[in-house]
């Protein structure tokens, strides 16, 4: 499939698209991909460039939206510097990383486990799949509200049943949302509830696309299923894992609705993650400059994290191909 082969074996096309089209057309392997990508790149650029430049501009100034009468002063890198010196920033960063790592880790293994179970041809499995997917279908705000309701005093299912059981066993009531450590884990739990279906779906896809031959070979060798899993399934699943984990990490890092509805960063500041901090700064205190600087820092962190992750996985993926 070299270029020369293409051009010589497809004369009708070259004839019908003489002129501009043949210059930018499929035969030009240097230019054509850009033609195909152009609409995507143009839209992303058009929508993305102004917000990005605006953020850079605002972050280098001193703008408080609720005080439009204040003069705009250029402050250079002051906003970033102030953030880095702000203990609240480091606290939020630590909480965010902890939340992201825990949530993605648990979601990944649970999702993988479920995906493996669903490989079996069981009666009623198609039906069950819809049940499993429900949390993901809910709007994030609604999911968060449902869980706030689950922990409502009195009528909340968790409070009433789980709390009732622990009370009966003599452990007393569990402070699901009132103890700093437990509240944080409760949020991780709800995030896991909401997004494991996503992992499950992405990994199911990956599993199903693994060819059969390697397993047959392993069977002949008499390899244990544990070994098969680690030496065949996991490596071949890499592309699916990559997308699933990168997307989920990006989203977990930005989790907002869940936290703001259920605890709003409390109790104390136990669940104040970056995005809670950001939203408070930007949309409650209207400190646009600080918020812009913060969001740019957040974006840098996500970029670095994804980049490293993709690098690690990519190199192996391409070998597998």
């Amino acid at each position: 499939m070299s270029i020369s082969e293409r051009t010589t074996t497809a004369p009708p096309m070259a004839l019908s698209h003489r002129g501009i089209l043949s210059r930018f057309g499929p035969s030009n392997r240097a230019v054509f991909p850009w033609v195909l990508m152009a609409p995507t790149l143009i839209i992303l650029f058009a929508i993305g460039i102004y917000p990005f430049l605006y953020s850079l501009y605002i972050a280098s100034h001193n703008v408080i939206l609720s005080k439009p009468y204040l003069p705009r002063i250029f402050v250079g890198l002051y906003q970033y510097q102030a953030l880095i010196q702000d203990p609240e920033f480091w606290h939020a960063l630590r909480k965010t990383l902890l939340f992201t790592v825990q949530a993605v880790f648990i979601e990944f293994w649970l999702g993988l486990g479920l995906a493996l179970l669903f490989q079996r041809q069981l009666a009623g499995i198609a039906f069950m799949r819809v049940f499993i997917l429900i949390p993901m279908i809910l709007p994030p705000l609604v999911a968060a509200l449902i869980w706030r309701y689950m922990f409502y005093p009195g009528a909340g299912l968790m409070t009433y049943y789980v709390g009732g059981i622990t009370k009966a066993l003599g452990f007393g009531e569990i402070p699901f949302l009132s103890d700093p450590t437990i509240a944080f884990q409760t949020l991780v739990f709800v995030d896991v509830w909401e997004w494991t279906p996503f992992m499950f779906l992405m990994l199911s896809a990956g599993l199903a696309s693994i060819p059969r031959q390697p397993y047959e070979a392993a069977e002949i060798d008499g390899a244990s299923s544990w070994r098969v899993f680690w030496t065949i399934t996991m490596p071949l699943l890499r592309p699916a894992i990559l997308i699933a984990v990168v997307i989920r990490t990006m989203d977990a890092f930005r989790t907002y609705e869940l936290i703001v509805i259920m605890t709003r960063g409390g109790p104390g500041n136990a669940t104040t993650t970056m995005n809670v901090f950001l939203t408070k700064t930007g949309l409650e205190f209207f400190d646009a400059s600080k918020a812009a600087a913060l969001s740019l820092i957040m974006m840098m962190i996500i970029i670095v994290m994804s980049f490293v992750f993709i690098r690690v996985f990519r190199s192996k993926t391409e070998v597998a191909e």
Partner: protein, 474 residues
């Protein structure tokens, strides 16, 4: 009780009569506005739901269509600010919380209203702006001696208790504003009936971190002495003063109510505490006057508690000081509106004596003398007339300091206070932290720049400012 019932019957008859009578004549200028549509941005709150009941009537009468865009309260502030800032003109009038007036007016987002009030072509002859309670209209709508918004109900916060439960325990709750109702009384009463085993907690407090600016303040104020009144957060030079023994004592008192509450309550908000009370499982809880009807007195949805409540003020502190809380929503015309006259026509109609009185049936609160005295109010919301004198003489529109930094101040208060609640720090540390962090916020806001002479006026130091007759404002 009997008098209330009697007057209720006549009020029902009267309001029927009023419905049938044409109350306003339409002017030529108003007729010319027929066919227009005005857009109104409002948070989804009961006050506005009550007003919405009157849109069809207005439309029929004036031919002006009112389209309301309801936004969750959480997002309302951001949305309205962005709309105003960018001058979109999408909305002709806005709902404005008392806390935001200074900001919006200073930024020039709102249209001064007095010219409209005085315009006989657009305002009904019977409008009578001096019928508004002076402190309510000026506290809600006046900035820099200029009237910017019209109030649609202003009220204090308070506490609601179960009279029947008290009776069973052998005591009778005092009247609203009775000096007998002190912080100590409240704690003792709660303790007397507190019995979590049989599903009755003494008091459902609201310690969630984002509510302290609403639910803790009554105690911060109660613990002031007559001498320290006015210096609760800041002194005359805007230096933060919150780190003192009164703050510590009030936090300790607020925390003492924790003993009545279940273990998982550090995040309780208004929703949780109210739900517990509505379910009949709490003796007392916090209230805001405008929510009383929807939260506690709706016989359809609150069958367990409706009619059994006593609505009190928040308790007086050791020195007899009570919280002068003032909460209000108002309507303001957008500077960028293209239909200012039509918007005003609606606003003057909906805040007129007649509509205001009738709206109380649906849960709207009063802000006019005539509404306070109306029989509809006495019939449907009998807990209101009791606060008339308070709203006239005691209330303080600057109870929460109305500066743009308030959001931050209140957040700091909530975070530090909530940390005390969960036992991370003690109340002394919290007060010290509050002072330090609030000072940082004020410094950032530019209050301590040497030689700055345009700092906001501290009107709360002389409340007579707000007592001017409404028609005297610009």
């Amino acid at each position: 009780m009997n008098i209330v019932k009697l007057s209720a019957a006549t009020a029902a008859g009267l309001s029927l009569l009023m419905l049938a009578l044409p109350t306003h004549a339409q002017t030529e200028a108003q007729k010319a506005l027929s066919g227009k549509t005005v857009h109104f941005l409002a948070p989804s709150m009961p006050q506005f739901a009550a007003l919405a009941k009157f849109f069809p009537e207005f439309e029929e009468k004036y031919g002006i269509k009112v389209v309301v865009d309801e936004v969750p309260f959480e997002n309302y502030r951001q949305k309205s600010l962005v709309e105003m800032q960018q001058g979109t003109g999408t909305y002709d009038f806005f709902a404005v919380d008392v806390m935001w007036l200074a900001e919006y007016a200073a930024a020039g987002f709102l249209e001064p209203l007095m010219p409209y009030v005085k315009n006989a072509d657009l305002t009904d002859a019977d409008y009578d702006i001096d019928d508004f309670l002076p402190r309510v209209i000026s506290g809600t709508g006046v900035f820099n001696d200029t009237l910017y918004t019209l109030p649609i109900g202003a009220g204090p916060v308070g506490t609601t208790f179960r009279a029947d439960v008290a009776e069973k325990a052998g005591f009778k709750l005092p009247e609203r504003f009775s000096p007998e109702f002190t912080t100590k009384y409240m704690y003792d009463a709660a303790k007397k009936v507190n019995n979590p085993e049989s599903n009755m907690i003494g008091f459902a407090n609201i310690p969630g971190r984002w509510f302290w600016g609403v639910t803790y303040l009554p105690y911060l104020f109660a613990y002031q002495t007559p001498e320290t009144k006015g210096d609760e957060y800041v002194d005359k030079d805007w230096k933060i003063t919150i780190n003192n023994e009164r703050t510590v004592a009030s936090i300790d008192y607020f925390l003492s109510l924790k003993e009545f509450m279940p273990a998982d309550s550090a995040n309780w908000g208004i929703g949780e505490a109210t739900a517990v009370y509505q379910a009949g499982n709490a003796f007392g809880t916090w209230n805001y006057q405008d929510f009383v009807k929807g939260f506690f007195e709706d016989p359809e949805t609150q069958a367990k508690v409706a009619g059994k409540n006593v609505h009190l003020h928040t308790p007086a502190g050791p020195d007899g000081v009570i919280d002068p809380w003032f909460g209000a929503w108002s309507l303001g015309v957008s500077k960028d509106s293209k239909n200012k006259e039509a918007a005003w026509t609606f606003m003057q109609w909906v805040t007129s004596k007649d509509v205001q009185a009738r709206a109380t049936q649906y849960g709207a609160g009063p802000s006019r003398h005539s509404t306070y005295k109306s029989e509809t109010l006495a019939k449907y919301q009998p807990w209101w007339p009791g606060v008339y004198e308070f709203m006239l003489k005691e209330t303080n529109p600057d109870e929460r300091v109305r500066v743009p930094e308030w959001a931050e101040i209140s957040d700091i208060m909530g975070e530090e206070g909530n940390r005390v609640w969960i036992g991370e720090i003690d109340s002394k540390t919290a007060a010290a932290n509050m002072e330090k962090r609030m000072t940082d916020a004020m410094r950032k806001g530019g209050y301590y720049i040497p030689g700055r002479n345009d700092l906001p006026k501290q009107q709360w130091r002389d409340l007579t400012y707000y007592d001017r007759l409404p028609s005297e404002w610009n």
